[in-house]
């Protein structure tokens, strides 16, 4: 189910400069990354009741890294996507205080997109060994087994 865009706009009116649109994904809210945590707490506390952060992922758009927060409300059976753009050398500010489920996905996203993680209780690498580059950036090619061995 899609949330009502006007209700979402009203909830976020005093919090941030939010841009609400509808796409093939559903209702998407674009906010500046600095306001991401405030946006999520407002949405969680509001009547919309977005109590679950289902998923968190990054996408390399070619100009920056787009962080997507996927929210779900059980009381209204609605889903919402909050997106924010982050420069390649940007700092990903943790939202684990709002949603504890962000803990590991944030570590993974920061590691695989080469971002710095801030405000996180354990910002260590999660999946790859030290020295591995930001593997999920489009500029990083996939390598054959031989190329990895020769390294």
């Amino acid at each position: 189910m899609l949330p009502d865009t006007t209700v979402v706009k009203t909830v976020l009116a005093g919090v941030t400069q939010a841009e609400v649109s509808t796409s093939s994904l559903g209702v998407v809210v674009h906010v500046p990354h600095d306001d991401a945590a405030a946006t999520l707490s407002a949405l969680k506390a509001s009547d919309l009741g977005f109590v679950m952060l289902v998923d968190l992922l990054g996408t390399d758009t070619g100009e920056d890294v787009e962080i997507t927060y996927h929210l779900r409300s059980f009381s209204r059976d609605e889903e919402l996507f909050v997106k924010c753009a982050l420069s390649y050398d940007g700092v990903l500010r943790s939202v684990w205080n709002v949603y504890a489920s962000a803990l590991l996905p944030e570590r993974e996203t920061a590691e695989l997109f080469g971002l710095t993680l801030a405000g996180h209780p354990n910002p260590a690498r999660l999946l790859t060994t030290d020295g591995e580059g930001p593997l999920l950036r489009r500029s990083v090619p996939i390598r054959t087994l031989e190329e990895v061995r020769d390294r």
Binding site: S24, L25, M52, D55, L57, F74, D77, S101, N122, L127
Partner: protein, 401 residues
């Protein structure tokens, strides 16, 4: 004969100066707990990654105070193959192959998530027969997957026999899956637009034979393991995940329902044939390990019910829609999810109009179930930590991806 323990203990106490010569009470046998002057410290133990009870290659860094775990940290990455990156260099048809290797115990569901996302991008109509076959194979896979969980959960608690009996049931179901898909694990059966093939008469016969006994077998399993007093004492009231914790850690599937939240993707966002099937969504009351056990056992019974409905109601027709050999979906972004045995498997696809996805993201339910371990294990005994890892049912293949 002198008791060696007494000798050593007396000596140790004297050395500490707690009980000097002549001060030691007569007849001291053991060190009383918490005697001043005896140094104790926390012990950090690495459990895994190569350990049978870690369900793959999970490493738990546990800080112990005696037998009690005071802090635990999960360490993963041993199975990282970069499925998401590889997906960006494969065609849409090949995503199912990658997803199979995510949660390798419930491949059908993972393939289905990728196929649903691709179909959403392409806007393809899947023939009814393919929809029903997807549900049928999915539910067969669900029982087969829960049997692995059931067997290993027994092993985690020390019930060695359960695993062998659970494998008997799994084997019969895997036989059916093999006759239909050609594979015992990495099925590659669900394709964008439909499924690989119709169910064979041989597989249908095997399935009907098996369905006559499955309910009795599940009851027998439940009586043997769940009816055991030792088992109940180990799991009841241990590892309680309350509603708020379950929501904030984004648990899905049986773990969420055991905490009393009635959310099931099959019922709330019906896909394939689930809209037409009749099934119940079992719920737990307190969210302890016992509830998670009961919810999964009931899910197996419900899956058996659905298999029965699927074989009887299987419509006639094609199993594959007409889709091009090379898929070039229009640019767009979609999220599709299914209810796998471990929870909500989601695929987030971004298309730029070319024949490969621009971004392919796999939402793994086990990743979120594993996070909650750091919350529920501290305060429990080390042996219960092993049990709790089993109780949330994680597969490391999809955590690392």
């Amino acid at each position: 004969m002198t008791d060696l323990r007494d000798t050593v203990l007396t000596h140790a106490l004297q050395a500490e100066g707690t009980f000097g010569p002549g001060k030691a009470p007569a007849g001291i046998k053991r060190i009383p707990k918490g005697v001043d002057g005896l140094a104790t410290e926390h012990l950090v133990v690495n459990i895994g990654p190569q350990h049978p009870s870690t369900h793959g290659v999970l490493r738990l860094v546990a800080e112990l105070d005696g037998e009690e775990v005071v802090n635990v940290e999960v360490a993963v990455g041993y199975l990282h193959r970069g499925i998401e990156k590889l997906g960006e260099h494969r065609r849409y048809h090949q995503l199912g192959t990658l997803m199979d290797r995510g949660d390798y115990v419930s491949g059908i569901h993972c393939e289905l998530a990728a196929a649903l996302a691709t179909e959403q991008l392409l806007d393809v109509e899947v023939p009814p027969k393919a929809q029903w076959l997807r549900s049928l194979m999915g539910e067969i896979n669900r029982i087969a997957s829960h049997m692995v969980w059931f067997g290993t959960f027994g092993l985690d608690i020390g019930a060695m026999g359960q695993f062998l009996y659970a494998m008997r049931e799994r084997e019969a179901l895997v036989d059916v899956l093999e006759s239909v898909t050609g594979q015992r694990m990495m099925f590659n059966y669900v394709r964008p637009g439909g499924v690989l093939d119709d169910i064979t008469p041989d597989a249908e016969q095997k399935l009907r034979t098996f369905m006559r006994t499955i309910d009795a077998y599940i009851d027998e399993h439940h009586a043997l393991l769940g009816g055991n007093e030792i088992f109940q004492k180990r799991v009841r009231g241990v590892g309680i995940i309350d509603r708020d914790t379950a929501l904030s850690f984004a648990l899905t599937g049986a773990n969420l329902r055991a905490s009393g939240i009635p959310y099931d993707v099959r019922r709330d966002k019906p896909y394939s044939a689930y809209g037409e099937l009749d099934f119940d969504v079992p719920l737990g009351a307190t969210g302890d390990a016992w509830d998670r056990y009961l919810v999964r056992m009931e899910e197996m019974r419900q899956a058996a019910r659905m298999i029965g409905q699927c074989i009887d109601g299987l419509p006639e027709g094609d199993v594959m829609a007409k889709v091009p050999k090379v898929l070039r979906p229009p640019a767009g972004e979609v999220y599709a999810c299914v209810e796998s045995p471990r929870g909500e498997v989601g695929v987030h696809l971004v298309s730029d109009g070319s024949d490969t996805p621009y971004r392919f993201h796999y939402r793994a339910p086990s990743l979120f179930a594993m996070q909650v371990l750091e919350e529920i294990i501290p305060g429990n005994l080390l042996a219960d930590a092993i049990m709790l890892v089993g109780s949330v049912d994680i597969v490391l293949g999809e955590i690392d991806r």
